[in-house]
């Protein structure tokens, strides 16, 4: 059967939710990053889906932007994680809590 818009959206939502859950619950910084990437990709999927079903190509163009940003963000984020790892010998974000009362 031909995939309808709703199916794409549902898939996207599910992916997004999985991503959010990952961000909120996982302790490992790298896993969190992967979850963030998952969220971004879910957003991409939504954009592409709409672009496909509406006569508008800007959605797909926008995806390119998102991907570029995601890449940049990963670069920076991983650099930070490396720096933290060098400091703390761990990527457990629960340990990065100096800014508390």
């Amino acid at each position: 059967m031909k995939p309808t818009l709703e199916m794409y959206l549902i898939l996207s939502a599910v992916l997004f939710t999985i991503g959010v859950t990952g961000v909120l619950t996982r302790r490992n910084a790298l896993i969190i990053f992967m979850s963030v990437e998952l969220m971004l990709n879910a957003a991409n999927l939504t954009l592409v889906a709409y672009s496909r079903f509406l006569p508008d190509i800007s959605g797909q163009i926008f995806v390119f932007f998102v991907m570029a940003v995601a890449a940049a963000e990963v670069a920076v984020g991983l650099a930070i994680i490396v720096a933290i790892f060098r400091q703390k010998e761990s990527v457990d974000i629960d340990k990065v809590n100096l800014m508390k009362w």
Binding site: V20, V23, L24, I93, V96, N97, M99, K100, W101
Partner: protein, 703 residues
């Protein structure tokens, strides 16, 4: 005239300023500056007295000078100087006594390390007192009133190394302040109703009825409260006996002759606006004080205490006189009392000076002021003795003295008042009783001090000698002024001051308190036989005749009774302390003397004397104890209570009111502590909060 008055006023102030700052470096401590200031003031006062007062010989003579002082809004407050008979008379009294005391102090205070300061304070006092008598409005009187109080404080506490002296000074000032507060309220009532505090304008204002009835009575009584404090009337008399801690010249000047007379002077100035009710209160306060203090004086052993209580009693006389309308008598007594009381105090100073010398030489620490340490001083100090005796007779009211004239006039006035208003019989009763007691205790003093043998032994006795001339000359001057002669010119009648210059120049002022009907001053206030023209409102001729007759009757009776009563007092004293026929010691211990009189040939007199002395001594001891323990105890107790109360207040302020402030800080602290806990530092936690927030927003938007 103004220039002269200003000179008299300001010369002592200049002397004060010079001596207090430079006295130490000047030769003789700069006392000559003070002496010059006051003696020249005396000369000027006498000049004014002879040319203006005796020169014009007009009871209504009055000059007044006013200067603008403080302005607010459109209102101006004036300072004014009033030169009238009363102020000139007071000037003479003040400058004369002050000059003599200055002279006396040269001898008395010799060798004191703060000699120059003493003279500067004496000058300051003179300035303040002269200002008080020259002032023409109540505010300026009040200002100088307080300054006189300051001088008293400085002089009582002169030997401030002694705790008793500084306590006494403080007690004096604070007790006076209580009276002053009342006086201030009275002044405010007057000012609010009449818009002025000038004495003449006050009288006019009251005459026009702008201030009347209960409010005027209240004002009168409140203003009198100032006098109660300053003139040591019951119940504010407690400071005066303690004030004897000051050097004796101070006691003579301030606490006998001048400052304490300021209260009487104030009442005299206010006489026209005192309502009958206020006057009655004043009369009773005065009368009661007179008898009350006299009874205490009898039991005292310290020579200055006797004189102090005597002063309180005499002031009571003056106040009572003014209250019953015997204005001339009251004011006259003020003047005569100033002279003989100053003489008595200076005389006691001379005695104490000698006693100090004696006790120092036998290395004794006994009290130089205790009469029980004295005795037989007559032979060694003749001038002191004779002057003291003359002054004593004046105080006791012996005929041919000035005191007799004035006291008799008061008693006559009070008696006439009681004859017109029979339910006030107590007033003359007080008066006569006090007169008797006065005679008694004064002569007791004289006998204990001057007669008999010296009680400190013959070795000590050899050191006794008369005081130097600087001290005895003032005594002589004052004693001479205690004889009737000077006051009775030109009539020279020793039985009544009427016909004399004093009575003519100081007739009773018109009382203008219309509120409760015209207050008829008793005819007896016009002394003696002068038939005074009754005023238009003073009804018919028969009433005038009746008043004149009454006045005559009262005067004669008063004279008789006062002589009797004084004589009795002297007689008892003589018997107890001179002839030693009655042992006072035994009377203090034993009350009953039943048998003794029976076998004694004077037994009837004996019984009479026994009961009289017994009663007097017992009563006086009881009252002395009452005064010291209870009354004075209440005064001291109120001080403790106030301190206690203020400690509680202080605690309350510290713990409760301040505690609330600290509590607020604590509450904020707790709340902050709670809110802090949201900062965990964990990013995921923050994201959760964010998400939750977004969720809520979405829900709210959708719903």
């Amino acid at each position: 005239m103004l220039g002269l008055a200003l000179y008299i006023l300001l010369a002592p102030l200049v002397a004060f300023t010079i001596v207090i700052f430079f006295g130490r470096k000047l030769p003789r401590g700069g006392d000559f500056i003070s002496l010059f200031a006051i003696w020249s003031g005396l000369a000027a006062s006498l000049y004014l007295f002879f040319t203006q007062m005796l020169g014009h010989y007009d009871p209504a003579f009055a000059l007044s000078y006013r200067f603008d002082w403080v302005t607010w809004g459109t209102y101006k407050l004036n300072i004014g100087i009033a030169i009238d008979n009363m102020s000139m008379m007071m000037l003479v009294v003040v400058t004369l006594v002050s000059s003599l005391v200055h002279l006396f102090s040269v001898g008395y205070m010799k060798g004191d390390p703060k000699y120059h300061r003493f003279f500067s304070f004496l000058s300051f006092f003179s300035f303040s007192m002269i200002g008080l008598v020259l002032a023409d409005n109540l505010l300026i009187i009040y200002a100088f009133w307080e300054l006189v109080g300051l001088s008293s404080y400085l002089l009582i506490g002169f030997w401030h190394e002694k705790d008793s002296a500084s306590n006494a000074a403080k007690k004096a000032f604070v007790t006076n302040r209580v009276g002053d507060a009342g006086m201030l309220i009275g002044m405010l009532i007057c000012f609010t109703a009449l818009g002025t505090l000038n004495l003449v304008e006050l009288k006019d204002g009251v005459a026009q009825g702008h201030l009347a009835g209960g409010l005027l009575t209240a004002a009168g009584i409140l203003l009198f409260m100032g006098a109660v404090g300053k003139s040591a009337q019951f119940p504010l008399h407690v400071w005066l006996p303690d004030a004897m801690e000051g050097p004796t010249p101070v006691s003579a000047l301030i606490h006998a002759a001048t400052m304490v007379a300021a209260g009487v002077y104030l009442v005299a100035r206010l006489f026209p606006i005192l309502t009958p009710d206020a006057s009655l209160v004043i009369a009773y306060v005065g009368g009661f004080t007179a008898i009350f203090a006299a009874t205490i004086a009898v039991a005292q052993n310290d020579i200055k205490r006797v004189l102090a209580y005597s002063t309180v009693s005499q002031l009571g006389y003056m106040v009572m006189a003014l209250g019953t309308g015997a204005f001339t008598a009251g004011f006259f007594h003020l003047v005569t009392h100033a002279m003989f009381k100053a003489c008595l105090f200076l005389g006691s100073g001379s005695i104490i000076f000698a006693m100090h010398h004696v006790l120092h030489n036998i290395h004794s620490h006994d009290d130089a002021q205790d009469m029980r340490n004295m005795g037989g001083l007559k032979k060694y100090m003749p001038v002191t003795f004779w002057t003291f005796l003359i002054a004593t007779t004046a105080l006791a009211g012996v005929p041919f003295t000035s005191g007799f004239l004035s006291k008799d006039a008061i008693l006559g006035g009070t008696l006439a008042f009681a004859m017109e208003h029979p339910k006030h019989w107590l007033l003359p009763a007080f008066g006569f009783a006090a007169a008797g007691l006065t005679a008694f205790y004064m002569f007791r003093l004289v006998y204990l001090t001057f007669y008999g043998t010296f009680r400190k032994g013959s070795e000590a006795e050899s050191h006794l000698h008369e005081s130097p001339r600087v001290m005895t000359v003032p005594l002589i001057v004052l004693a001479s002024l205690s004889i009737f002669f000077f006051y009775a010119a030109p009539a020279f009648n020793p039985t009544t001051p009427a016909g004399g210059w004093f009575a003519t120049l100081f007739p009773t002022p018109e009382n203008v308190t219309l509120a409760s009907g015209r207050y008829v001053s008793p005819a007896s206030s016009r002394l003696g036989d002068e038939a005074v023209e009754p005023t238009a409102e003073h009804a018919s001729g028969t009433e005038a005749l009746h008043s004149a007759h009454l006045e005559h009757l009262a005067h004669n009776w008063a004279m008789l009774i006062s002589i009797l009563v004084a004589g009795l007092g002297i007689w008892i004293a003589t018997l107890a302390y001179y002839k030693w026929k009655i042992d006072p010691e035994k009377w203090r211990l034993r009350f009953g003397v039943a048998y003794r009189g029976m076998y004694n040939k004077w037994w009837c007199d004996e019984v009479y004397k026994a009961t009289a002395i017994n009663g007097t001594l017992g009563l006086s001891k009881g009252l002395a104890w009452f005064d010291g323990a209870i009354l004075d105890g209440i005064v001291n107790g109120s001080a403790t209570v106030t301190r206690l109360f203020s400690t509680v207040q202080g605690w309350f302020d510290n713990k409760v009111v301040d505690g609330l402030v600290n509590l607020t800080a604590m509450v904020v602290g707790f709340w902050a502590h709670f809110v802090r806990s949201f900062q965990t530092g964990q990013v995921q936690r923050y994201l959760l909060y964010t998400l939750a927030g977004v969720g809520i927003v979405i829900i709210l938007v959708v719903i």
